[in-house]
Amino acid sequence: MIIAQQKPIKDIAAMIEDCKKVLLVGCAGCVTVCLSGGEKETEVLASSLRIMRRLQGNPLETVTITATRQCDPEYIEPLENLVKDVDAIISLACGVGVQYLAERFHDKWVVPAQNTMFVGGSRTHGVWEERCGLCGDCILHRTGGICPIIRCSKSILNGPCGGSQYGKCEISKDVDCAWQLIYDRMKALGKLDKLMEIQPPKDWSKSRDGGPRKAIREDVMIG
């Protein structure tokens, strides 16, 4: 899922300082699961902003709603009525949701309440970790199911570099060296010889370096 973390409240407040009434839109997708932009977080943010503004002697009116998904036009269509009489929309979705709202409600000021961080999963309650760099050409079958693109700090394809020590990456004692993990796993699988193959340079044009990407499935298109 996409992992996002809320911006500091003073930053969110600054984005809407001239507004009297705002709509806060949560998302029931990824950001609900990572506990940063679901229904509960949307209500909490709305009331925090109201309290803050009341203390500043400049009260704020808020309306809240949580869409099933903000990354699907069909789920943001019903917001139309709520959008009409607000000065701005605060989206608690990932960056995709913010853009979908801005695109649909083009005459409204739409601001992000979140920093969209990465694609990952949960480790234990309250801890999420990055796992995929969305490179568009998955090579996990060559690296024992551990992604060097995003988990190695240098995206090395023929690791580990000389900074790997005691299982940790040179950047921090708190970061596992992806290539130590790859080595351990390939060893356990009896496939160390695979690591002797020189991995060729990656085709980054399949990643974001080729410009914004589009996926098309003609077989499921209607009409």
Binding site: S153, K154, S155, I156, L157, N158, G159, P160, C161, G162, G163, S164, Q165, Y166, G167, K168, C169, E170, I171, S172, C177, Q180, Y183, D184, L192, L195, M196, I198, Q199, P200, P201, W204
Partner: protein, 307 residues
Amino acid sequence: MKTESKLQKLLDSGHFAVTAEIGPPKHASAHGIRHHAQMLKDYVDATNITDCQTAIVRLSSIASAVHILDCGLEPIVQMTCRDRNRIAIQSDLLGAYSLGVRNLLCLSGDHQKFGNEPSAKNVYDIDSIQLIYLMRRMRDEKLFFSGEPIKEHEPRFFIGAVANPFADPFEFRVARLEKKVEAGAEFIQTQCIFDMERFERFMEMVRERGIHERVHILAGVTPLKSWRAAKYLQTSVSGMIVPDDIVERLKKADDPKREGIEICIEQIKHIRTIPGVHGVHIMAIAWEEVVPEIVERSGLYPRPKVE
């Protein structure tokens, strides 16, 4: 594959090579590097020029190399994968060759987190092993990285790489060295050696695989100025092993700098007895002036002459 590198001629004819390292300054004057080049030129066969080491912005490695050549010393240009994509790497190396550079050392580069631009975007378009492979192919098969032919004047570098016997997983370090040799590395400079026992074990594994017969290994040494410097390397630099007895020896010494030089000379003398080591790489970080004494007292002076 033969190149015009003097370092290669020396190594290929069986001499025990001596290389040093010059770190370019954090300003736009070449005065210091030229001074160091003058000082080192009769004592070493070639000198590395670091490429913004520890990700600190410094005068460019290739520009420094031109100053060093001008002083009559052969440069080894370091090229990291951190700051340039494949377009910039190729362009810069064509330029370096046109300016007379004949030795190239390919590295990943330290992560920018450690430098003075920690919020920079890193590149890592290709990694060090891919860089070695692509530069070897550029020379021997006259192809750009993309596979497009180079019609004429392909750069013909003597290609080097680094190896760190002190990083983990230890068992894989020799295998990765072999991978670099497979890719096309012709000389190897190691990380600074303080743990001689581990280096001996490393070399034993190198010999078992016969790698020493396919590549010239230059053992890295660093004279230490103080026990604090030793402690810093021991605790704060990932991929480094500094045994406690070295820290203690420097701590007890009346003149720690002298002691640091003595330790380094002892290490070089020891390294010269290890089969399969073809030279020594002296990294006197911000202490280049001690290199002549170290070379001389290690019995490595005068340096052999090549055509």
